[in-house]
Structure formats: C-alpha cells, structure tokens
C-alpha cells in the first residue's frame, strides 16, 4: 500500500517544505506574472455571463502583447474583453460571434485592419477546445460542410454524410470565472456562466480561475464538482460582482 507518510517525508526531503497542493494565489498579479508576449489566451464567457473581468483587468495591467484571444464573442461595451482589445495588445481573435449591438471596440479595430479574425462556428469552437484538452489530434464534424467557413478544409464522406476536418485549439493560458473553488482547484460554476469554462480549463497549459468563494477541501460535493482540480493551476479569490447585461438590444423601459 502507498504510504502517505513515507511519500510526504520524501517530498519534505526534496523540497524542504510541507507537501501540500495549494493552487490559491495571493493576488491576480502573482497569478498572471509569467504571461508572455505572443501567448494564446482562452477567455471564458458567453456575452457577459462567465467573463472573468478581474483576470482580464489583471492581464491588461500585466502588459503582455501580441496576444491571440479565444472567446465566443469579441467584447461588450468598453469593459472586460473590450477593454483588453482597446489596449491594442491583441493581434488575433478566434471567436464565433463578434458582431453585437455593443461590440464597437471590436468593430473599429477589425474595420481598420488592426485585429485579425478567425471566425469559427460555435460548436466547432467548443469541440476544437475540447479536442485540445482531450488529446484528440483532429476530428470530422458535419458543421460548416459546404459553407464558406469550410473552404480549403479537408472533407470526407462517412456513411453517406459529409464532414469537415477540424483541428484542436491549444492555449498557453485560460482565464476562467467560476463560483466556488478549493485549494486543489476543484470548481463549480453558476448557471449559464459555466459555458466555456470547463472545456477551456482542459485546453490550456496554465488555467487561472477567479472565484468569489474559496472553500475548505472536502466541502464541495464530489458528485457536483464540474471541473476537477487536475485541470486548474491557479485560483484567485475576487470580490463578487453582479453580472451586467450585455450583447443585446435592451427594450425601451
């Protein structure tokens, strides 16, 4: 049998400190200190739900440039992802739905040729991210077959149906908003703010999570953990912010 005491003493000997996984970072600054220029950064969120606003602010302050950003959209209003785009440090965005009523920051950069766009059907975006995290080399999908977005891509007929070959999207960094975390990085989410979080967490070399609530190990119901901590590298506790409306035309009051 594996003896935890023996293992612990070996680790103590090697690192001269108590062996204890602790992914909780003291600050956003510390969590994002090593982001490099040219990095591919996945940012969770659909519209404003699940957007890790605190981490995006941290990335802006950190200053990495020449970034490729992967998100479903391309920012709402002037905050969050839109604020990151506004800094001019994003070279390329991979997304499914950049055009929204309040995406003026993206619109301006795109029209002036300052931002490259790779437009991907939403389900292919999700599956390409999932494939990266699951070790899949590429996959055949029916989505997009026969359309502009599949032009130049390999296709195959399988059992009478047509498919397009799509490749994974890997990231250096994933920025995710979750609801609760423990020091192992186990996560639960809040309603539809979950969206891309669980798959992006699997696809990045370094997954950083902001949560309003950190709980003791063993507190999260093991049957209800959505992202197992193995996919998470750093957790930062942030102040709870109410998700604001965004991405649609508000009806006249």
């Amino acid at each position: 049998m594996f003896n935890i005491r023996t293992f612990g003493s070996v680790v103590n000997h090697l690192f001269d400190r108590r062996f204890m996984i602790n992914k909780i970072c003291a600050s956003i600054e510390a969590a994002l200190a090593d982001v490099r220029d040219g990095a591919t950064v996945m940012i969770g969120g659909f519209g404003t739900a699940g957007i890790p606003d605190h981490l995006i602010e941290g990335l802006i302050a950190q200053g990495a440039k020449d970034l490729t950003v992967v998100n479903n959209n391309a920012g709402n209003g002037d905050t969050g992802l839109a604020a990151l785009l506004k800094t001019g440090r994003v070279r390329k965005i991979i997304c499914s739905f950049p055009r929204q009523v309040d995406s003026h920051v993206f619109d301006g950069l795109y029209r002036s040729g300052k931002l490259e766009l790779e437009l991907v059907p939403q389900g292919n975006l999700a599956e390409r991210i999932r494939a990266a995290g699951a070790g899949i080399g590429a996959f055949f999908t029916p989505t997009g077959y026969g359309t502009q977005l599949a032009e130049g891509k390999e296709t195959r007929e399988i059992n009478g149906k047509h498919y397009v070959l799509e490749y994974p999207i890997y990231a250096d960094l994933a920025l995710i908003k979750a609801e609760r975390a423990d020091r192992w990085g186990n996560l639960t989410y809040r309603m539809t703010a979950r969206n891309f979080g669980p798959i992006m967490a699997t696809a990045a070399k370094c997954t950083v999570v902001e949560v309003p609530e950190i709980v003791e190990l063993g507190t999260l119901d093991p049957e209800a953990v959505v992202t197992p901590g193995i996919f998470v590298h750093r957790v930062v506790q942030v102040e709870r912010k109410l998700t604001q409306a965004g991405g649609f035309k508000k009806e006249a009051a």
Partner: protein, 212 residues
C-alpha cells in the same frame, strides 16, 4: 394580400411542436414560438449557451445575467432544468438529440439549403454563432421567415445567393403567407393564409410549388 402576423406565425409553428419534444428556438422571430406552445404540452427548450428546461423571461427586477439564453437575454429555469458546458451543448445538437430547431433565414433554397448567417456584403462583419451547428443538428430544422423581402422578392429561391449556413437542412418553412414542406419531390404547400389562392402564392414564390 392577407398576411399572418408574427404572432400568428409563431402560433402556427407552435401547433406542430409535439408533446415531449426537445426544441431549440433561434434568436429573433423563432423565440416568439415559446409564447404559443399549448399549455397541455410539455416541451423542453434548449439554449446553446448551456441550458435545457428554459422557462419564460423573469419578472422585472428578477433578472440574473448569469442565467441567459443564446440571445443574451435573461431567462428562468424550470424545475428539472439544468446546465452544461458548451461542448456538451453542441453535442446535443450535432448528435441529433434535439427534435426540432426553429431558425430565421435570409433565404431558403428549394433543396433545403439555408442562408441565415451572413449577407455577404464586403463591409459586413461576419458572425456565425451557433447557426451552422443548429442548421444541421436537429432531427427537424424549421425556418420561420416572411416569404418576401421588403422589396417584394421571394426568399424561397432556386439556389441561395447569400452564403449558406447548411446544405439541404431545412425540411419546412413557415412564412407569413404559407407553410411549405421541402421534400425530395418538391415544395408542397401544406397551409395558406385565408383568402390567398394557390396561383397567387405561386406567382410571388420563386420556386415551383405543389398542392399538398
């Protein structure tokens, strides 16, 4: 010419959604179908951002923007509803688990090709979202649109001139003038607005129609 209103169109679609169906309603006009589903039917609404068992819009002041639909509008969750991530959500579509999907369209071709994501205008910012996944994913893809453009051109066409969203994926089109099934044997009119003759309908429609 008599026309169905948008609400009447939504009502007409709702009649054809069977009890127990899992359904995705696209953004815009199709969203209105939810308001007309007969109260004696249990229909489960899916939204691609990761929710199934979606309820109506919340009361004013009760909005929570962590609980939204694909159009980013606040919604509610019915008892039995649940959340899941994007890859699962699109697996529900692509995997053929949804019974019906109702979408808007710019054009639909006689063979069922759908164009609803891009006008193809050179200065337009392209955005596709889940349209291509929805088009080919559900067991049945219905389109809901006005039959004619504002300038009176038929949106049912021999071949789409706008960039397509999916190949031969639409099985039925609900318009403000008629409901038309697109089959291998041609387009069959299964319902028409009152007072409209088949010949009048054929005259404004750019593809050959058959009486069902």
């Amino acid at each position: 010419m008599n026309k169905w209103t948008r609400d009447q169109m939504a009502q007409r679609v709702a009649i054809d959604i069977p009890d127990g169906a899992y359904v995705n309603l696209g953004i815009g006009l199709p969203t209105m179908v939810a308001n007309h589903i007969p109260s004696d039917r249990e229909v489960v609404l899916h939204s691609e951002n990761g929710v199934i068992g979606m309820g109506p819009a919340p009361a004013k002041g009760q909005e929570d923007y962590d609980l939204i639909n694909a159009g980013k509008q606040p919604v509610t969750l019915l008892p039995g509803g649940c959340f899941f991530h994007h890859a699962d959500s699109f697996g529900m579509m692509r995997g053929g688990h949804l019974d019906v999907c109702v979408l808007g369209a710019f054009q639909v071709a006689a063979n069922g090709d759908l164009a609803n994501w891009h006008t193809g205008a050179p200065d337009a910012i392209p955005a596709v979202g889940g349209a291509m996944d929805l088009a080919i994913g559900a067991k049945k893809t219905y389109v809901m649109m006005e039959l004619l453009t504002k300038s009176g051109e038929s949106k049912l066409v021999p071949a789409c001139t706008y960039p397509i969203t999916g190949v031969a994926c639409v099985s039925r089109v609900y318009t403000d003038l008629a409901v038309i099934d697109l089959t291998r044997d041609g387009a069959k009119v299964i319902d028409m607005v009152e007072g409209l003759s088949f010949d009048e309908l054929q005259k404004v429609t750019a593809i050959p129609l058959q009486r069902a």
